[in-house]
Assembly symmetry: C2
Homo-oligomer: 352 residues x 2
């Protein structure tokens, strides 16, 4: 199979690496920065770099465009113009309707969005297993060629991903709610706290809840500005809704019973979302009260590891003095009780 | 010293435990639920339970009222009515102006708020070291007796806490920004996501960023409704400001350059807040790319532990397949470089 990757960064490079190692694909790369291509060859992400986009695409059966969201309509257009009549062209952008609106009428184009990534960018961090078990949205249209869709779907499955077809507009609405709005709210929280504190010398030890709520604030400005802008219609709807909800909370601040009903309803909704697997699969949370000293986290992790219990996620919330704290652990639901027993056996109180 | 604790839960019980063990204080307890008093005696949190509030307070030198925020004005009033002329009465509520407005004119009352707590409630989880190095806000007024303030301050210091005087209104404004607003925003995010998903079968693997942003959503409905209501004036200001900021973001969604400038400004503000120690003291963040298998977290934690490097906070962000991920570690700033070298020595890429 001839696979071409346009834009050889973490995503494009990992795709090339996996296609070469697992499928024996012949992978050609092209990048706006030619220096990237040498690195990509040296880490095994591509077989060769092409001098021009047209040369890279000429003989490809599958072309993956890994460009920034805002550049996708043009980049995919260039790929389609250069690609042969039997090639399938896809992309990996996290907003889908602009590129689908531009090229969804071409039977060779099928939009895509893998839910995978890492904190580290660049082809030097490419990983052969980056897409293992990852949801990979595909946004075919009625114009999309059936055989081309099958070819792309088969590639992704063979790479270890789970392709899932979704309407481009539904995709963008859902991602606006679960990803783009949370980034905006984190930003608002940081900006507002900075303004509220001003030059106060009294800076409270807010602990990990503030850190948790603002972890993604200000992430990668060019990339996120691009995403907000590309998904501005769906994000505007979410912003209007958030403004409406905040206004309604403001209107019940005088009413303790209403406030408690609201807080309780959210508590139930959060439980339902967690159970639905939205926030990380069928995991359940354990909370362990521990002294926050070197070795305790290791002791808990080792004890669970020895029992074959994997920790899907964890967060250590220290007390203000950093000496005590609570470890929140997420384990697979069916292992939770066993994990709780093991941790209690170490002498730490556990709530589930 | 005769210390009386009114409301013997986690906070009141830990206070009694520490005062008895560290200062040899004679601690009397009273609780609306008399059954709590037996448990409190059995875990060593109090010397004896009193049958009535008046009896509990009669001979006390220091009275600590650990009641819900909404009940504080009445509870503190009852304590002041029963206490002798030389007693000092304080509280531990997380909103200060209502109780200070009600009783700040009595020289015997000094409001308080320890920044300490745990996920687990009840006197059975009382810990002698709960307040070690914890900021403990005190809100004296011009009416407060100087000797009484000194007595309370000395008690808190002797218990291991760091008392810090602050104006009640400033306290409430700051906490509205860094604590109460984040809880409201987490709630909005959960409610809105639940609404957006509706009955969609396609539930995306949003990963840990959504979980982080919504960890506190729906927490303890009676307690948080009480806090929102008690701090409704400052919280209304924060809500109005958040609504304004969201409206301004909405207005620049058509302008990529403005969006990027905004995202970049937040990025800088977050960095400044982190450096100011707001979110956990003088720590710095390391990001480590790892396979997410049992034993890896332990290996990293043990390696740092052996070198005497404590992990102030950590968060493991798994990839959608839970096989790979990034460990974010916060270590004391001066140990960061050493920690990064040690982790790189294990073969994992680190960014700081």
């Amino acid at each position: 199979m001839n696979l071409t990757v346009l834009g050889v960064g973490l995503i494009g490079g990992s795709l090339g690496l996996a296609a070469r190692q697992r499928l024996g694909a012949e992978v050609t790369g092209w990048d706006r920065d030619p220096a990237v291509l040498d690195r990509a060859v040296s880490v095994g992400a591509i077989d060769r770099g092409a001098a021009t986009l047209a040369e890279a695409v000429a003989d490809a059966e599958i072309v993956v465009v890994a460009a920034p969201v805002g550049a996708l309509p043009d980049a995919v257009g260039a790929a389609l113009a250069a690609a042969g009549p039997d090639a399938v062209v896809t992309d990996v952008g996290s907003v889908k309707h602009p590129v689908v609106a531009a090229h969804g009428g071409d039977e060779r184009f099928i939009g895509g969005h893998p839910l995978a990534g890492a904190e580290v960018a660049g082809v030097e961090h490419a990983r052969v297993d980056l897409f293992d078990d990852a949801t990979w949205y595909l946004t075919p249209t009625r114009a999309s060629g059936g055989l081309l869709f099958e070819r792309l779907h088969r590639l992704l499955t063979a790479l270890g991903a789970r392709p899932q077809a979704i309407d481009a507009d539904v995709h963008d609405r859902v991602l606006a709610a679960v990803s783009h709005l949370p980034h905006v709210l984190a930003n608002v929280l940081v900006a507002q706290t900075a303004a509220a504190l001003g030059n106060e010398e009294t800076i409270p030890s807010t602990g990990p809840s503030f850190r948790d709520a603002t972890r993604v604030a200000g992430a990668n400005p060019p990339m996120w500005a691009d995403i907000y802008h590309a998904n501005r219609e769906a994000l505007a709807v979410q912003l209007d809704e958030a403004i409406g909800r905040l206004s309604r909370v403001r209107a019940i601040l005088d009413d303790p019973a209403e406030l408690e009903a609201w807080q309780g309803a959210v508590s139930e909704e959060r439980r339902r979302l967690l159970e639905a697997g939205l926030v990380g699969g069928s995991t359940r949370e354990l909370r362990v009260a521990v002294p926050n000293t070197p070795g305790v986290v290791a002791e808990v992790a080792l004890t669970l590891g020895r029992a074959g219990i994997n920790i899907a996620d964890m967060a250590l919330s220290p007390s203000p003095d950093n000496r005590n704290g609570v470890i929140a652990l997420w384990c697979h639901a069916e292992q939770t009780e066993r994990a709780a027993d093991l941790v209690r056996g170490l002498g730490y109180p556990v709530t589930t």
